[in-house]
């Protein structure tokens, strides 16, 4: 069996889009088993036995009790510091996990669902609750979207983030109802009215956080009178609300389109492709079926180079390829500061709409920050595979290391000039159009 450049390019794209970057050896190994078998194994792999997961256990985070109205200024300060410490530890952990995991699809999908159900540490503040939500996203990341969406409606971090815990009968708070419909399931203005949002808010009334980090329904605060949501009338609760919304024909295409945007291309799918994806996805809501349909389509290969990678994909991909050790907390803090400058820190999306995409990542300031970061990373990287090659082979060796099938004439010319210095060579390679798009 011979491997063509096209095969290598296609498998490289499969690994890069379902993970964080991909190296030549990983791509070579996936070609041996074949892309379909690779994807199946990624979708069914037992995450708990992944050596990278074993090496990065989730931190033990305590739910911090309320500081109390009588607290002194010093007590409040200590409380805030403890909250910040927890959030920082949680964020460092996830970055390390994304870098360490061997089979990255679960972490990649967890990150995609975090972007989809975007929840920010700035308002939630309790690291333990964000970790709990993160584990829920991870558990369902390759599973059932309906189960995941229903879980998010009563997820404690989400209830804080979108004021579900403040939503009571009599004067409902619309925040969670509106964003669930508009951003999580149907898309803006597609087949619902303001009245549906307001009725939905009534269905979601009465949920309260418990002191042990759970959520419970307080029936006295729940509006148990009849509501009409998207044509369904009855004493609907959060499950009835979620089901009424997901029963809408717009739900499958919306979720498929948003996921396509994260995994396949910055350009929307054609109507034919979207219809095929929707057929695979709705009504089973099987995320694995959706991903298989997306990643197996001819569209996937054709969309090569049309997805601008986001800062997390870029940095985690670089750390994985360069095998930069992350044992030192100070180093991880510096890396997270780089992500902050680039505008994408995990657990800190700018809004419930998640992060922007595409050209938004390609500002002049981002170019500047990324190049400086790449130079710093290559100073602490393992670049033996490049240094060992003859200077005339190094440009191709860098492509192999970073999973880039072929350099453009433009990039090759620039890289050739740096071939004498492996560190400079790789720093530039990490900033080529071929690496920044996928």
């Amino acid at each position: 069996m011979s491997t063509t450049d096209d095969d290598w390019r296609a498998v490289a794209r499969l690994l890069r889009r379902t993970g964080f970057g991909a190296t030549g050896p990983e791509i070579d190994a996936a070609i041996v088993v074949g892309p379909a078998a690779y994807l199946l194994s990624a979708l069914t792999a037992d995450q708990q036995s992944d050596p990278g997961v074993v090496a990065t256990p989730a931190p033990a985070l305590e739910l911090l009790g309320p500081v109390g109205k009588q607290a002194t200024a010093a007590e409040r300060k200590a409380h805030n510091a403890a909250l910040q410490d927890g959030l920082a530890e949680l964020t460092r952990w996830w970055l390390r996990r994304m870098v360490a995991v061997r089979q990255p699809l679960t972490e990649k999908m967890t990150f995609c669902w975090h972007n989809h159900f975007a929840t920010s540490r700035t308002k939630v503040r309790q690291a333990a609750l964000l970790l709990q939500q993160n584990e829920t996203l991870r558990t369902h990341s390759r599973g059932n979207f309906r189960t995941l969406a229903q879980a998010m409606l009563i997820d404690p971090a989400m209830l804080i983030w979108l004021d579900g815990n403040d939503n009571v009968a009599g004067a409902p708070n619309e925040n969670l109802s509106r964003e669930f419909i508009e951003l999580f399931t149907l898309g803006h203005g597609d087949g619902y009215t303001e009245q549906d949002v307001r009725e939905g808010a009534r269905a979601l009334t009465g949920w309260r956080l418990t002191t042990d980090g759970g959520a419970t329904l307080n029936s006295k605060k729940h509006d148990s009178t009849a509501k009409t949501i998207l044509g369904v009338t009855g004493n609907l609760d959060q499950t009835g609300f979620g089901d009424a919304v997901l029963a809408q024909p717009a739900a499958g295409p919306y979720v498929a389109r948003r996921t396509y945007g994260q995994l396949i291309s910055d350009n929307p799918p054609s109507e034919d492709v979207l219809a095929a994806l929707t057929r695979a996805f709705q009504p089973s809501w099987d995320i694995g079926a959706l991903l298989t349909a997306m990643l197996g389509s001819a569209d996937f290969v054709a969309a090569q180079g049309t997805s601008v990678i986001n800062p997390v994909e870029w940095l985690v991909g670089a750390l994985r390829a360069l095998q930069v050790p992350l044992t030192d907390d100070k180093r991880v803090r510096t890396l997270l500061a780089t992500l902050d400058t680039l505008g994408q820190v995990p657990f800190d999306p700018p809004s419930v709409g998640g992060w922007p995409s595409g050209a938004a990542w390609l500002s002049t300031a981002a170019a500047d920050t990324r190049i400086r970061a790449a130079v710093a990373l290559t100073k602490i990287a393992d670049l033996d595979s490049i240094s060992a090659a003859a200077p005339s082979e190094r440009v191709d060796a860098a492509g192999h290391l970073l999973g880039v099938a072929a350099w453009s004439a433009r990039s090759r010319a620039v890289l050739n000039d740096a071939a004498g210095d492996p560190r400079q060579l790789v720093a530039i390679a990490l900033n080529t159009s071929e690496y920044l798009t996928n």
Binding site: G189, E194, D340, G343, T364, A365, D368, D417, A418
Partner: protein, 403 residues
């Protein structure tokens, strides 16, 4: 020609980033590149627009407070401000207690408050409504911002408009170009070999996808920014952490430094989030308005004493106001019209637009009295000396706020 084709055409023809390419790396030394601020300074008296975007939907009713209206106190029990708490603007309206600085500007006749600003068929989605404000297209979603379209008219020089922060807002992206971006915090120039590499990465390649063209363009623009802003960047911003979470004060400090240095930029965009107050609104909103007030009044004071700064006009807006009625969680849900602030030496202080009624409502929401495009129209013609009709796709009467 569709826009991607046009972009491809422009970069292929060398029109995109022409300034960067014309500077000619390899033949011109770094010393020669020291800032178009020095070689090609802003012509004295050129007006400069600073756009402050307040993300989340600021509650206009508790910002410009109708403290004299009984309907206000009826709609928001335990959630109102009284006459002795507000900074009175006249006998009926007062500024939030957290805004003493803007109250001072009002007294000095350098703050205009446009009341009841919105657009037809208000949308309650943060994302769609912010999109409408940033693209100036309430009718249908489009993928260019109003400043981006203004940039497109001006020959694709990315330094005409500068966003403070790494992530470009839709406002600043046009069909053929985008605003430059600066991060707060000091940075040094790249060594010559790396600078040459960046120039190389900015060249077009026939195999590029449209997305890859955008990458290349960003490197062209990066070189132009480097050449234009280097003297400003060397200094950095005092106390600034180089992050997306830079404070509004840090962002405006960087703008002030650019303005004073005379860089040829006439639009700056900065932002402040945290206005989505569905619950426990009063304290949160006071904190955010306090941040806005402190940063903005310090900036405007600084600008008023600088020859270039005296031409600065600040425009501050949010994607919508909030519901008149308070909800049970001491907050307010997404609403419609809200006040817009315009400030600076060239501004004629005072009220513009009619105050929306608190009793004649549209399904619980304020009825807008001023179309936001009227404000943009005046900013385009009065500050940027551009044809508003071309940028806005229609004619909107100005409001007469500029001297």
């Amino acid at each position: 020609m569709d826009h991607l084709t046009r972009r491809r055409f422009l970069i292929a023809s060398g029109a995109t980033g022409a300034a960067a390419l014309a500077i000619g790396f390899g033949t011109v030394s770094w010393g020669t590149l020291m800032g178009t601020a020095e070689r090609d300074p802003l012509v004295g008296g050129t007006r400069i627009l600073v756009i402050v975007t307040l993300y989340g939907g600021n509650d206009g009713i508790n910002t410009v407070i109708p403290y004299g209206d009984p309907a206000y106190h009826d709609a928001r029990p335990e959630f109102t401000y009284t006459a002795d708490q507000v900074h009175p603007l006249d006998g009926e309206l007062g500024l939030n207690p957290a805004m003493p600085g803007l109250a001072g500007l009002w007294a000095g006749n350098q703050l205009a408050i446009v009341r009841g600003v919105g657009y037809p068929k208000p949308d309650h989605s943060h994302f769609r409504s912010m999109d409408i404000w940033q693209t100036a297209s309430p009718q249908a979603p489009i993928n260019t911002g109003w400043i981006g379209r203004w940039l497109d008219l001006n020959g694709d020089n990315p330094t005409n408009a500068v966003n403070i922060g790494s992530v470009l807002p839709p406002l600043a992206v046009g069909a053929t170009g985008a605003a430059a971006a600066l991060s707060v915090g000091a940075s040094s120039a790249f060594p010559a070999d790396l600078a040459t590499a960046i120039t190389g990465l900015g060249k077009p390649d026939p195999a590029d996808t449209p997305e890859q063209i955008t990458v290349a363009q960003s490197y062209c623009a990066e070189r132009t920014v480097e050449a234009t802003f280097r003297p400003v960047l060397d200094a950095g911003t005092e106390g600034a952490a180089a992050g997306s979470k830079s404070t509004l004060a840090q962002q405006l400090t960087l703008v002030a430094r650019c303005v004073k240095a005379g860089v040829p930029t006439t639009v700056y965009t900065v932002s402040l989030g945290g206005f989505d107050t569905h619950a426990d609104e009063k304290a949160t909103q006071e904190t955010q308005l306090g941040i806005l007030d402190t940063a903005l009044s310090a900036f405007l004071k600084d600008m008023a004493s600088d020859p270039n700064g005296r031409s600065v006009v600040v425009l501050a807006y949010s994607e919508f106001g909030r519901r008149v009625q308070v909800n049970a969680s001491h907050g307010t849900d997404h609403g419609t019209a809200g006040p817009v602030f315009i400030a600076g030496v060239p501004v004629r202080g005072g009220f513009y637009g009619d105050q929306p009624s608190l009793t004649d409502l549209d399904d619980g929401d304020l009825k807008s009295t001023v179309d936001f495009r009227s404000i943009y129209s005046e900013m385009l013609s009065g500050v940027l000396k551009a044809d508003p009709v071309t940028v806005l796709g229609g004619s909107y009467p100005g409001i007469g706020v500029l001297t």
